[in-house]
């Protein structure tokens, strides 16, 4: 890889398993950040806990690596407080759709200008192989000893139902395709979801690199991503799953742009002084 501003001088000790799809996603991510020319000091990576959620540790930028499932509220606040920063949230399918499911729903409602990258390996990697919300029915694990019975969560359908303005599925095996989609997601003004199929070589023996290859296909050239109902129909397709941007709409305004604090004054909060005259007036209004 060519030198990338977001890579480290010395190779970091990456704790992923050899062969894990996460490495490829990291390559896509570093490339996307570099190609977009984001100033290194202006990026904040936000994550929860999990293998995927370790990503910020391996990107040479500011990061907020918080609690399992809780990346999105933190990311939303960071963007709201400092709209001049680029905020990327990243995590696993358990992190974002399991523990963090409620934040996902409501981040979608709020629509902060955040790109969310979810590693869909259909398993809990870091905790050693239990079912994720995306695990396929029938998958056996040390906890699901009789096989998964719950319907896998369909992130595409869900995001489209929540009217997310950028809904895409990528595949770690396609580094360039993923890079391309990531760039578009970061550029999208508002909440953007990229769900990335990723093989977990240690715990998911069912949804392997090969399986993903065999069970995905790129959306056809000329696919129109601007029709929500049509996108939903495509989102229901399984085996093969379509890859690419399923839905895109610039209709909604981002959360932070709607905040009254930014109506006139565009400066991030950190640059503002507190208004002592207003305070005095507020106290004396109680007289």
């Amino acid at each position: 890889m060519a030198t990338n501003a977001f890579d480290f001088e010395s190779k970091p000790d990456i704790s992923w398993c050899p062969g894990c799809g996460d490495f490829a996603i990291r390559r896509s991510l570093l490339a996307a950040l570099q190609e977009l020319g984001i100033p290194r000091g202006k990026l904040v990576m936000v994550s929860g806990i999990g293998q995927a959620a370790k990503m910020p540790q391996y990107v040479n930028s500011s990061f907020f690596n918080g609690l399992h499932g809780r990346a999105l509220p933190a990311a939303t606040a960071i963007k709201a407080v400092a709209p001049d920063l680029t905020v990327v949230a990243e995590g696993g399918d358990g992190d974002m759709y399991g523990e963090g499911g409620n934040h996902f729903l409501h981040a979608a409602r709020r629509n902060p200008d955040i790109a969310l990258f979810v590693h869909e390996n259909m398993v809990y990697g870091l905790t050693k192989g239990q079912a994720a919300p995306t695990s396929r029915v029938g998958m056996r694990t040390p906890v699901q000893v009789f096989g998964v019975t719950s319907e896998p969560l369909n992130p595409m359908a869900l995001a489209i139902a929540m009217n997310v303005g950028f809904v895409a599925r990528a595949f770690s095996g396609d580094i360039e395709g993923t890079t391309r989609i990531m760039k578009r997601a970061i550029l999208h003004r508002g909440f953007a979801l990229v769900d990335i199929f990723q093989p977990c070589v240690s715990f998911n023996k069912q949804n392997t690199l090969q399986w993903f290859k065999e069970n995905t296909y790129p959306l056809e050239e000329g696919y129109k991503a601007d029709d929500r109902a049509a996108a939903f129909a495509r989102a229901l397709e399984e085996k093969p799953f379509p890859l690419g941007v399923l839905y895109e709409s610039a209709e909604r305004q981002p959360f932070e742009e709607l905040l009254p604090a930014y109506r006139e004054d565009k400066r991030p909060l950190r640059e503002r002084a507190h208004d002592m005259a207003a305070l005095r007036a507020a106290v004396m209004a109680k007289a």
């Binding site: 609690l67 509220p73 606040a77 709201a80 920063l85 729903l105 004054d265 991030p268 507020a282 109680k286």
Partner: protein, 559 residues
């Protein structure tokens, strides 16, 4: 007469609140000291609620059991107030509705109908009360007009008329019932506001510029106040999907350079417990206003208790600093809320402001808060390349805090154990250094603690010990008892325990803990700190704040 205690009681939505707000505004205008508090059921309409108002020549800051004047709006009001109605209680109202033998009939609605409709009944009642208080009629009328200023001339006029009629009827009750209270000119420059307002203003004084919350009584009071202030201040106010989101959002906001406040109650705070631990781990400031109500679980959603102290102190897993402040009066509400932000930023740690339903909902006249001369500054540094968020080496465990976007460095925080740069480590020595760093902040905060304050006889034999909102009733009870050898040690800063507490307790023959919960949570903490057992604990868990009389009696029983 020095003061009058007035109670209004009726259903939710029946108009108690309009009588109350008009009356207290007029009374303040007339330079009386005013105190008002309310108790209400967890329902929007119906039930039986009450508001207590004290109008006084002197400063009044606590509730009393005594009712001088009762305005019942329903039949149930009489049963609801039960044995607080004594022979000396003047009961005035619509006999046809309330059906209480001993009451003086004053048909507010009928009079209101003459003016133009039932909506004016409240103003009629206010008129009658003002007459009984012998407040000058013309001045009152101007007050009434001011009160309805925004509603237009017609409404103003009708209400003035309703007021006059009520006033006349009040006068007609005869001089025997009137209660002339002398005004205090000093009230003119004073402010009158609720505990929630005091906390909100204190937060603004502390530089708060981000508020997030999930509605929960009684914590919502501060959210609503701050939302209102977002019209005149650069404050981002966001209602979040749940309390977990709230806390994580606030921590994210602090990380990015804001001064964020969350406000909640016990159940919501319990949900934030993991996030409190996150703030501790990543050493990011966090300020929570926790307005207590009785538990466990949903409990009594609209009532009061001091039962969440342990919850706050032991929130989150792992050992790290949490500072807990508990205002006992409006001034402390303001100054501690302000201090919370400075402390959170300075110690890069969670700070909790513990109030309760009684505290946030009560209001009274008080001297205007002293404002700081200088605005608060964000205690952050501009980072240089190579900046490390958790640089070791300071004796108080505090490393300069950078924020992303300010300076050339990067700011890396991780909830896993981390090294100085914020990167995950499992190195034993680093782990121990980071634990020690976090513990050092506890020691440093204890040194910086606001010491407890002693009231009463400095050469006490009996020492009362309390925290938070019991302060005002205790002080009035002490004044009522007027006993030498009696003192009250008040803790506005309750955790980590300030130093020197043992000396206070050792100087006493008898130590009595007073608090509003079922077991004496603060008493336990003081015992743990000092090794001195309390001789008695005065406790209460019925959902109400102590009245002055109740405390007077319970204290004197121990003397």
């Amino acid at each position: 007469m020095a003061e009058l205690s007035i109670v209004l009681s009726g259903e939710a939505g029946q108009g108690i609140q309009s009588i109350e707000s008009m009356l207290t505004a007029l009374a303040k205008r007339a330079r009386f000291h005013v105190f008002a508090t309310k108790e209400y059921m967890s329902r929007v309409r119906g039930g039986c609620n009450s508001t207590e108002i004290r109008i006084s020549r002197q400063r009044v800051t606590a509730r009393v059991a005594r009712i001088d004047l009762l305005i019942p709006l329903t039949k149930e009001a009489i049963a609801h107030l039960g044995d607080r109605i004594e022979d000396s209680t003047l009961v005035i109202g619509e006999k046809a509705i309330v059906g209480y033998d001993r009451m003086i009939d004053l048909p507010f609605s009928a009079i209101a109908a003459e003016v133009g409709g039932a909506v004016y009944a409240n103003t009629v009642a206010v008129g009658a009360i003002c007459a009984l208080l012998k407040i000058e009629a013309g001045e009152c009328e101007r007050g009434v007009r001011a009160f309805f200023e925004r509603k237009g001339a017609e409404v103003q006029e009708a209400n003035a008329e309703a007021f006059r009629r009520g006033y006349a009827r009040g006068l007609a009750l005869g001089p025997g019932l009137a209660a002339a209270i002398e005004p205090d000119p000093a009230v003119a420059g004073e402010i009158m506001l609720t505990g929630a307002d005091a906390v909100a203003l204190g937060a603004l004084a502390g530089g708060c510029d981000y508020v997030c919350a999930y509605p929960m009584s009684p914590g919502t009071t501060v959210l609503t106040a701050m939302a209102e202030y977002s019209k005149s201040f650069d404050v981002i106010v966001e209602q979040v999907e749940d309390e977990i989101g709230v806390a994580n959002m606030a921590i994210g906001a602090w990380y990015a350079g804001a001064r964020a406040l969350v406000t909640t109650s016990g159940g919501g705070f319990a949900l934030m417990s993991e996030a409190v631990s996150l703030a501790g781990a990543i050493e990011t400031p966090f300020v929570a206003h926790l307005a207590q109500r009785p538990g466990p679980a949903t409990g009594l959603p609209t009532r009061t208790e001091q039962g969440d102290l342990d919850l706050a102190i032991y929130a989150g897993h792992g050992d790290f600093l949490k500072i807990v402040l508990a205002p006992g009066d409006l001034e402390e509400g303001f100054s501690l809320a302000r201090a919370a932000f400075e402390l959170a930023d300075r110690f890069q740690s969670p700070v909790f402001i513990l109030t309760d339903q009684y505290f946030v909902d009560s209001y009274y006249t008080t001297p205007a808060f002293e404002l700081p001369l200088a605005p608060p500054t964000r205690q952050v540094v501009e980072t240089a390349p190579g900046y490390r968020r958790y640089a070791l080496g300071s004796s108080d465990g505090i490393s300069p805090r950078g924020i992303p976007g300010l300076g050339e460095g990067i700011v890396c925080v991780d909830s896993d154990e981390h090294d100085q740069g914020g990167y995950i480590t499992e190195d034993r020595a680093m782990r121990e250094a980071m634990v020690a760093k976090r513990l050092a902040k506890i020691a440093a905060a204890r040194k910086a603690a606001i010491p407890p304050k002693l009231f009463g006889d400095p050469r006490y034999k009996t020492l009362l010990v309390g925290w938070g909102s019991v302060k005002a009733p205790v002080l009035e009870a002490m004044a009522a008892l007027a006993r030498p050898g009696l003192a009250y040690l008040h803790f506005p800063w309750v955790h980590p325990m300030p130093r020197g507490v043992r000396e206070y307790l050792e100087a006493a023959t008898t130590c009595v803990a007073i608090e509003g919960n079922a077991t004496g949570q603060f008493a336990d903490l003081v015992e743990l700190e000092t090794g001195r057992r309390f001789d008695s604990r005065i406790l209460k868990c019925d959902g109400y704040q102590y009245t002055v009389e109740e405390l007077t009696e319970r204290i004197s029983a121990l003397l």
